[in-house]
């Protein structure tokens, strides 16, 4: 046990979860180094059972992977994920009224709780949210009256009796069909979608507004938060992310570019312009700089599965908040504190505006988020341990254990350490997802999806 050591000093430990080790399982996507713009992964999301894993990309496509049934002969190969369905969710569009191009890039994917044999997900680009149904079909009808199965027509004079088609088994076919299109409700870019625990409504948030939709009604949504000032010159902050509480159907939060999180209770009022709680940490004056405001902007907010905590990601850190304590986070983890001295160059190459996401493991004991150089970070909350791991082709032999990586922060560089200056800022991990029960994680580099799992002892 390494109790007492404050996290974030870059101390390298065995790995989160005590003696848990992560090993490579799969990598998806093209191997060559030329990255087509359309192939850049823009979101990753497990469904509620973890059986399916969806990714969205800049080309507007959604790819769904399905976990194979466990292979009894090779117990160490736990259930690989293979492509289940691929479909074009959004197409590029042009708004003629505003002369605006609307990118097809998938900003978010959210799975709906399963309601029948089919699966449903919401996918959104900047303006339009779509509800997709992914269903299986293993039977097809056979038997026509007027033609043969091969399409040749029969002489109509030979028809002496009616034939009712019968269904016969066929190879499994997976179909994705758009069920609803929720359009024309957002003036700004949609950054979040979140399904309510009442299974009936969901919210969508853009830079200045949060809208509430009924999943079955596409022509109407209710604006529940509007932070647009009467005069746009007075605009000081924007909404960066929003999420519903996992159990309380009346509670949602939204984060802002100023580093605050507002919690709203929809029971109090139909319009949630007034928040019920404001989570904000007083700024440390010693760290004050030109970049303070930019790096305090929250890029992602996620409730823990148990609904007690929420996690926020800003540029340099991950913070865990207890919903019952508004004045400061209960835990703060530094993701890449060593970049603080390099903010100036990160500002120049726009990296400082990267929106890193974060996620919880199944029992809320570990959190994960991405960094640069294809590194991603895990923080074990109970044990106060952290780990830096790397998603790379070099480590992609089956079941190869991921070696912890370490970034050297000044002074002498030890063996196996990487100096801050040699980090590749073009390789970044913005999107990660954790299987809802098991220790299986999906980590998206620019155009590859890595799947890692804990080593079975």
């Amino acid at each position: 046990m390494q109790c007492g050591i404050s996290a974030g000093k870059g101390i390298q430990l065995e790995g989160p979860g005590g003696d848990m080790q992560w090993c490579f399982s799969q990598v998806k996507g093209a191997i060559d180094d030329d990255v087509a713009e359309a192939d850049i992964i823009s979101t990753v999301e497990f469904n509620h059972t973890g059986e399916l894993l969806a990714t969205g990309d800049k080309g507007g496509r959604v790819v769904i992977f399905q976990q194979e049934v466990e292979n009894k002969n090779l117990p160490q190969f736990r259930s690989e994920y293979n492509v289940y369905s691929t479909f074009q969710s959004h197409e590029p569009e042009f708004d003629y009224l505003k002369s605006l191009e609307i990118e097809e890039k998938i900003n978010k994917i959210r799975w709906l709780p399963q309601k029948n044999a089919a699966q449903f997900l919401l996918s959104t680009n900047d303006k339009t949210i779509k509800l997709w149904k992914i269903s299986e079909r293993d039977k097809r009808p056979e038997g026509y009256n007027l033609k043969e199965e091969d399409g040749r027509y029969r002489d109509r004079n030979t028809i002496t009796a009616l034939r009712v088609p019968v269904l016969i088994p066929m190879d499994l076919m997976v179909e994705a069909s758009p069920r609803r299109v929720f359009a024309n409700a957002h003036t700004y870019h949609i950054n979040s979608v979140s399904v309510n625990s009442d299974n009936e409504t969901y919210l969508s948030a853009d830079d200045l507004r949060v809208n509430l939709w009924n999943l079955e009604i596409t022509d109407r949504s209710f604006n529940i938060v509007d932070i647009k000032p009467a005069n746009m010159e007075e605009l000081t902050e924007v909404i960066t992310a929003a999420e519903f509480h996992p159990h309380q159907c009346n509670t949602f939060v939204y984060s802002s570019s100023k580093g605050t999180i507002r919690l709203c209770d929809m029971r109090v009022s139909a319009l949630c312009d007034k928040h019920s709680k404001l989570f904000e940490e007083p700024e440390n004056p010693s760290n004050r700089s030109f970049f303070s405001e930019i790096i305090s902007s929250i890029s992602d907010v996620k409730f823990s599965h148990n609904g007690r905590y929420m996690m926020t990601r800003d540029y340099l850190s991950v913070k865990i908040w207890d919903l019952n304590m508004e004045n400061r986070p209960v835990e703060t983890y530094q993701v890449h504190e060593y970049l603080r001295s390099k903010l100036c160059s990160l500002y120049e190459n726009d990296c400082i505006f990267d929106k890193f996401e974060c996620c919880w493991n199944g029992n809320d004991s570990v959190v994960m988020t991405g960094s640069y150089n294809n590194f991603f970070r895990m923080f074990d909350r109970g044990q106060r341990r952290d780990a830096t791991l790397e998603a790379s082709r070099e480590n992609s032999k089956p079941l190869q254990v991921l070696k912890p990586r370490k970034v050297c922060t000044g002074g002498k560089r030890k063996k196996d350490e990487i100096s801050v200056d040699s980090l590749d800022f073009n390789k970044k991990i913005l999107h990660t997802a954790w299987h809802p029960q098991d220790n299986i994680i999906a980590v998206a580099t620019i155009n590859n999806l890595y799947i890692f799992q804990d080593k079975v002892n």
């Binding site: 044999a117 007027l146 009616l162 019968v166 299974n199 009936e200 159907c249 929809m266 029971r267």
Partner: protein, 716 residues
């Protein structure tokens, strides 16, 4: 029906069956909607053994197809062999009851409820109840939500052991993990309670009701409010206090505004259900709180109920309760910050005057009305004006007229045309209330000003407003006040205003009668036929057609005809068209307008029938009109041919008779349905027309006639 070699009558059915799996949704939908025709052709045996199994597995389809299927199956009992076999319909409906689309599930449940009545008590236990159980314990919430709607239909007709099981299932669903199911259970709670024995209402329903009403999700709690109404009506008065009221009180003070909104929205029903005593002691304070609620949506819902609530108060101390408890809250609402609240109140507040009587109205309500009449929001003012009649009965409108006039004028000149439109609609009502002198003095100018509004919708509404005013005040009044002004506009430099004159004449001629129309209006219309704007000229033609019936035949022949004939040779195509149409209508032969739809229909029929005739028909949109389409077609035809023999009529219109026979062909597909439903006279005509035509081939005639004659012989 089936059987004979290469039977032609099988062909349409074969097409229908094949199209059950066509790639085009519209064609599949068409086929599904004619499922009864298919089933009829197949016979009950094959419907049960082949068609239904196929349909059971068709749940991959589009929602609209599934919806149509779910609906069809509810009426299928006879087609599967009657009540004895009705349980064969359960499997397809069961799978439809689990699809994700709510409308489809609801329709499937509706059909299941319908056919449950056709089950014998034994079948109900053997087939139907197990289905309900399966749905209730299904893996997915879709099936469990569907189950909620089925308990109440089978409960009354099963044995007591099964009843106990059903109650148990319902209990389980009320505490389901997913809020969807709990919501479905909560919304069916009242309905289920109604079929339960009173003792079980107390022992089973009340605990469930209490639990759902304190569910963690407000979307569930608010549905319990609805159940509260039906449960309260079932229980004896003495039990209400202990069993229902605690929950209701709690709901009225719920943390969530949506629950309180629901209480406010259902307040009148609740009030009736709990009776006068509890209303006095509990609901009055609760209602006061809702009127003062911090959420505007709740206040608006409560404000909407003010009149109804007061009306339903026990009469003995109604006035006292209103004056001391309700009115103070109402007074506050008049100056509410939210305009929806104010306008909700404005739509009912006038109703209080009848309840409170003349003195109270003058003393307490009048100031409120006057404040609302001056409200900044036009909707509030409009709502007050629209309900003036209630006050008029009690205190007379004179009390209000001083404030009324400025309010009306302001609305009449509002910058938003929808507001102007709304006030125009109240003009006839106001005119009736205020009387003719007041109207002439103050409002007439407004009505005229609207005629030259720059928005067409306003001009149009102003025109029909004039008609209503003339109906109210009489032709003489029209002649003196309106007609001169309207006719004056005929010389307006703006052609839109000139056209307004014509529209007014169209609207007014009937109400004004022959004399005014002939003597005053007609000359103006005729003069306008020389207008330089074509739009005005063809409107002249339309106007003449319109006012023709009002004019005497003398005027028609000597004045109207020549002008129309002149217009019929106009250089403008539209003017020509409308003039010709007016001529043919006024000639009184038959209306082109009436014939056109028949023509169109014939063409459509023709095209579709032709596809049957071509050797390669399957890819074409083969279309069998439904029985009521066919009936409609013949109605149109019958109307337009008036009393002439059909064939003659068709011949006159240059339509080859054989076309008509082809159009007749699809009818024969529905021979059993349409033929029998057709009026006797129509049958005779149809047959007659086929028999008297000489142009078509013998075989055609035989093909067409045989089934009809067979049926005629057998059925008529």
């Amino acid at each position: 029906m089936a059987g004979a070699d290469g039977d032609d009558s099988l062909y349409p059915i074969a097409v229908l069956i094949d199209e059950l799996r066509n790639e085009d949704v519209q064609l599949r939908l068409n086929s599904i909607k004619k499922l009864s025709t298919i089933a009829l052709a197949l016979g009950v045996e094959r419907t049960r053994t082949e068609l239904l199994p196929f349909l059971t597995d068709t749940i991959y389809d589009e929602d609209e197809v599934l919806l149509a299927l779910a609906e069809q199956l509810g009426n299928f009992t006879m087609l599967v062999g009657g009540p004895e076999y009705v349980h064969c319909l359960l499997p397809p409906l069961e799978s439809l009851a689990t699809v994700e689309e709510t409308v489809v599930r609801d329709k499937a449940v509706e059909s299941l409820r319908k056919i449950s009545q056709e089950h014998s008590p034994v079948d109900l236990e053997v087939h139907f109840e197990p289905l309900v159980k399966r749905l209730a314990s299904g893996d997915w919430f879709t099936s469990r939500t569907s189950a909620c709607g089925l308990f109440s239909v089978c409960y009354p007709r099963v044995s007591s052991t099964v009843k106990a099981e059903i109650r148990q299932h319902f209990r389980t669903l009320c505490s389901d993990d997913t809020p969807m199911v709990r919501r479905a259970a909560a919304s069916k709670l009242g309905e289920f309670a109604k079929v339960l024995e009173l003792e079980y209402v107390k022992t089973d329903i009340i605990p469930l009701f209490t639990a759902l009403a304190s569910d963690e999700q407000d979307s569930v709690r608010l549905l319990a409010v609805e159940a509260c109404v039906s449960i309260a009506t079932l229980l004896p008065q003495e039990d209400l206090e202990t069993l229902v009221m605690p929950t209701l009180r709690q709901a009225a003070e719920d943390k969530s505004w949506r629950v309180r909104y629901m209480v406010a929205d259902k307040f009148s029903e609740l009030q009736k259900a709990v009776g006068p005593e509890i209303t006095k002691n509990d609901l009055v304070p609760a209602f006061q709180n809702l009127l003062k609620d911090c959420e505007a949506e709740v206040r608006a819902a409560a404000a909407n109920k003010v009149k109804e609530f007061c009306e339903n108060l026990p009469e003995d101390n109604r006035e006292q309760i209103i004056m001391s408890h309700i009115l103070p809250c109402v007074k506050e609402l008049v100056s509410d910050t939210n305009q929806h609240v104010k306008s909700a109140l404005a739509s009912v507040i006038m109703g209080l005057s009848t309840i409170l009587g003349k003195d109270n109205t003058i003393e307490h309500l009048l100031p409120l009305f006057l404040t609302q009449l001056k409200d900044e929001c036009p909707e509030v003012r409009l709502n007050i004006i629209s309900n003036l009649d209630c006050v008029n009965e009690v205190i007379g409108i004179r009390q209000l007229s001083q404030s009324l006039l400025p309010a009306i004028v302001e609305l009449a000149e509002d910058a938003k045309w929808r507001v102007r439109l709304a006030i125009i609609e109240y003009m006839p009502l106001l005119a009736g209330q205020l009387g003719v002198e007041f109207f002439d003095e103050k409002l007439n100018t407004l009505c005229m000003a609207w005629l030259i509004d720059h928005v067409y919708a306003i001009r149009e509404a102003a025109t029909s407003n004039l008609t209503k005013l003339v109906e109210k005040f009489g032709a003489e009044w029209a002649q003196n006040t309106i007609v001169p002004k309207v006719l004056g506009m005929a010389n307006d430099p703006n052609y839109l205003h000139r056209m307004t004159t014509l529209f007014c004449i169209n609207a007014l001629s009937e109400a004004c009668g022959q004399e005014i129309t002939t003597k005053q209006m007609l000359p103006v219309v005729l003069k306008m036929s020389n207008d330089q704007v074509a739009n005005v000229r063809f409107n002249v033609a339309k106007s003449l057609q319109k006012i023709g019936p009002v004019l005497g035949s003398n005027a028609l022949q000597t004045e109207v005809k020549p002008v129309l004939e002149k217009l019929a040779s106009d250089s403008d195509m539209d003017v020509k068209y409308f003039a010709q149409e007016a001529i043919s209508v006024l000639d009184g032969n038959f209306s082109l307008q009436m014939v056109q739809p028949a023509f169109l229909l014939l063409q459509i029929f023709l095209r579709n029938v032709r596809s049957v005739e071509t050797p390669d028909p399957v890819d074409e949109a083969y279309f069998v009109p439904s029985p009521d389409q066919t009936c409609r077609f013949f109605n149109v035809l019958q109307n337009s041919c008036q009393n002439q023999p059909l064939a003659e009529y068709i011949g006159k219109w240059g339509l080859p008779v054989v076309f008509f026979q082809l159009a007749f062909y699809p009818l024969l597909i529905h021979k059993d349905l349409v033929w029998l439903a057709a009026p006797e006279e129509m049958k005779v005509r149809m047959l007659w027309s086929v028999l008297t035509s000489e142009e078509h081939a013998e075989q055609n005639r035989i093909r067409l006639l045989t089934p009809a004659l067979t049926l005629t012989a057998a059925g008529m």
